[in-house]
């Protein structure tokens, strides 16, 4: 492996601007992880306009910082308030909050921070080794491979998304349709523009992401009855004892590995990784009954895993150009806006960007470790900020930000429109994540599909005779068809009366994830 570009990457990171934006990114990430309401995808979407004036490396360094910073921040609310700020911190609630009730909130936060740091760092190192290999492998990918890859990516993200699978796939289809709006690149025909000049160049990614993720989430939260704000448990000593560290070291190691592997899979990501790591620890433990009662491993494993997964989910994006989850889809969009198209050629053509972003994560993780251990008290105090005060500020940032992209009022209207759609989708059980992901991948999918058909001279079996696209498509069919078939079989066996719908959907989701693993 040629180390020169890796070392040059450190040079990029250490430029003062990049260090500053790395710090800004991780602080914002940590804040939104702690604050109620917005998740990382929404925050990154809202901040997209800011990135337009930045260098591509600087922009992505900041956005990446928000993403993995949020993994640290989510832990704080899980432990202190039993409210997981992020879905990937849900399992941390069990043992983390139990520890807090025993007056050991500091230990839980300290162990989580150290686990997150180790998980993140291990994952960056492996990422640095694996990513160039994957990229060089993918250099030979042609249109058929990309067709299969994009299809599989969209399906996996829909499968593992929160909520109903069927609805997630519907959302993805709508995203694909929205991607076709505008002039057709092959024939020049105008599609679904309804004669509008503004739509002739197609829909912009920024207003869609800002509306669906940003405004949609704010509007959805408006309806919530405000729960009484609990006083967070006091955090005394965040430095874990040597005994705690020894006890959790194995869990941190295993969590890091599990997180890295699951993070690579499209749709896998941090949520699945934290669940799997917790389950593995509980299964291995000599006294599994300690779990849920305040076992430090129960905090260490999922927190290491979700951070490792957050890092490794950059692999599919930076090496294949396929985002692995909703947040990566927004970062993908940010790259496209910067004129960088992520794909296998990124490592060789834009080494400064590639290694700059990866190496910035070392710095970001160190910054986060510093913020989560000595400065944790500061972030705990932020928990008192009310959602009702934050909401109008976020709305104004979104609206003004949307305007600044093209200095156009039409863009603000689009954001509001997609905000309303995002609200309705969340309200009716449709996860907006697959829609945004499919929108981002839509033109890639259509281009590759049409090119492939031209290559194969209209013979669709060509997809299956090429080894890589064939395998990917078989996996696609398995993931798509097995769960409904199984569910149908199960329904035939069980009487409909005792078949609770909620249970059915969850088991199908988990069975599919099993297949994908």
């Amino acid at each position: 492996m040629d180390l020169a570009p890796v070392i040059d990457g450190f040079g990029v990171v250490l430029e003062p601007t990049n260090l500053l934006y790395c710090l800004i990114g991780v602080v914002i990430g940590m804040l939104i992880g702690v604050l109620p309401g917005l998740g990382p995808a929404a925050t990154i979407a809202i901040l997209l306009p800011i990135t337009l004036g930045l260098e591509p490396v600087t922009a992505i360094i900041m956005l990446a910082g928000i993403f993995y910073g949020a993994q640290y921040g989510g832990t704080i609310t899980s432990v202190l308030l039993r409210l997981p700020g992020e879905a990937s911190s849900v399992v941390t609630v069990f043992d983390g909050h139990a520890l807090a009730r025993q007056g050991k909130a500091g230990t839980a936060l300290g162990i989580a921070a150290i686990g997150s740091f180790v998980g993140g760092t291990v994952s960056i190192i492996v990422l640095s080794v694996v990513a160039p290999v994957v990229a060089s492998f993918a250099l030979d990918f042609g249109p058929p491979e990309y067709t299969a890859l994009a299809l599989l990516g969209i399906l996996l993200v829909s499968t593992v998304s929160s909520g109903d699978r069927l609805k997630a796939v519907i959302a993805a289809c709508v995203g694909l349709l929205l991607a076709t709006v505008g002039r057709d690149g092959f024939t020049g025909a105008e599609r679904f523009t309804f004669g509008s000049l503004e739509l002739a160049d197609g829909l912009d990614f920024v207003p869609i992401a800002m509306g669906l993720f940003g405004l949609g989430e704010i509007l959805y939260n408006l309806e919530e009855r405000h729960r009484k704000v609990q006083a967070p448990a006091t955090v005394a000593n965040v430095w874990p004892s040597r005994a705690d560290l020894r006890q959790s070291s194995g869990a941190i190691g295993r969590g890091s590995v599990i997180g890295f592997v699951l993070g690579i899979l499209p749709g896998g990501g941090a949520v699945l990784a934290s669940l799997a790591a917790y389950a593995v620890e509980k299964r291995r433990a000599k006294h599994p009954e300690r779990f849920g009662q305040g076992a430090v491993e129960g905090v260490a494993a999922p927190e290491s895993a979700n951070n490792a997964a957050a890092t490794s989910s950059f692999i599919p994006l930076l090496t294949l150009g396929i985002p692995a989850n909703a947040t990566m889809a927004v970062i993908f969009g940010a790259l496209l806006i910067q004129g960088v198209s992520p794909g296998p050629q990124l490592v060789t053509q834009e080494p400064e960007l590639f290694w700059g972003v990866i190496n910035s994560m070392y710095v970001g993780n160190i910054l986060l470790l510093v913020m989560s251990l000595p400065l944790v008290g500061l972030f705990v105090r932020i928990l008192r900020v009310r959602a009702t005060v934050l909401a109008p500020i976020t709305v104004l940032i979104t609206l003004v930000g949307a305007y600044t992209v093209n200095n156009s009022v039409f863009d603000i209207l689009l954001v509001i429109l997609f905000g309303a759609l995002g609200y309705l989708m969340k309200k009716l059980g449709f996860d907006p994540g697959p829609l945004v992901l499919a929108f981002v991948l839509g033109s890639l999918l259509e281009d590759s599909l049409r090119r492939s058909l031209l290559i194969f001279d209209g013979d669709a079996t060509g997809f299956f005779t090429r080894p890589i696209s064939g395998v990917l498509l078989v996996v696609f069919l398995l993931v798509a068809l097995l769960p409904p078939v199984r569910a149908a079989l199960r329904r035939r066996r069980a009487t409909p009366a005792e078949n609770e719908p909620a249970a059915t959907t969850t088991t199908t989701t988990t069975t599919t994830t099993k297949e994908s693993v």
Partner: protein
């Protein structure tokens, strides 16, 4: 690689570790110890949804599915008009047609399971807050070109704080004015963003 599913069940179910010991443990207070991991996760997620409106009825679910089908049909018609093409010679309408065809089928699938769907929420009185929020944003857009962003922004923040968020009058006034000053300093004075402004 162990999937979370199998791990979760082995932890408390039969066939896991010998004498897993979850049963006799004095774990009555803590749900996470008795339930399987999957159930415990669902419980935490359900707690987070405590303040949300109740689930929508079957009629709403049927309407949602029908809307999906209608959207799909409209897209099929629109794509067909663009030129269907063939596998050998794909046209502008080929890909949208495939996708919208899939959308129709998926919508029909949703219609079939509409009576068992429970993940949609009912529209309640609180939903008017969302309508009001959207209206305030549309008002903001309508006014920004005429009188600049300052007054509409202050009004929007005030409406959200006082009427949507039930903050006190004093807090609402102070924060909405503070936000506008901060925005002015940041966007107009510091970044010179060409947003329409009054002053």
């Amino acid at each position: 690689m162990t999937a979370p599913h199998s791990g979760a069940h082995a932890a408390t179910g039969p066939g896991g570790q010998p004498a897993a010991g979850a049963g006799p443990a004095p774990a009555e207070r803590d749900p996470a110890a008795e339930l399987s991991l999957e159930e415990a996760v669902h419980q935490v997620e359900a707690e987070e949804h405590e303040g949300r409106p109740p689930a929508a009825g079957p009629l709403a679910n049927v309407l949602v599915a029908a809307a999906v089908v209608a959207l799909g049909v409209a897209a099929v018609v629109g794509s067909a008009a663009l030129g269907v093409g063939s596998a050998r010679d794909p046209d502008s309408g080929t890909f949208p047609l495939l996708v919208s065809g899939a959308l129709v089928l998926l919508g029909l699938g949703l219609l079939a399971v509409a009576r068992r769907t429970e993940d949609a929420e009912r529209f309640t009185g609180a939903s008017w807050l969302v309508v009001a929020g959207l209206a305030s944003m549309v008002g903001f857009v309508a006014l920004i070109g005429v009188i600049g962003f300052e007054i509409p922004a202050a009004l929007l923040a005030f409406v959200w704080l006082r009427f949507l968020g039930h903050e006190s009058w004093r807090t609402s006034v102070v924060i909405s004015l503070g936000v506008v000053v901060a925005f002015y300093l940041l966007f107009v004075a510091a970044l010179s963003v060409p947003i329409p402004h009054l002053f």
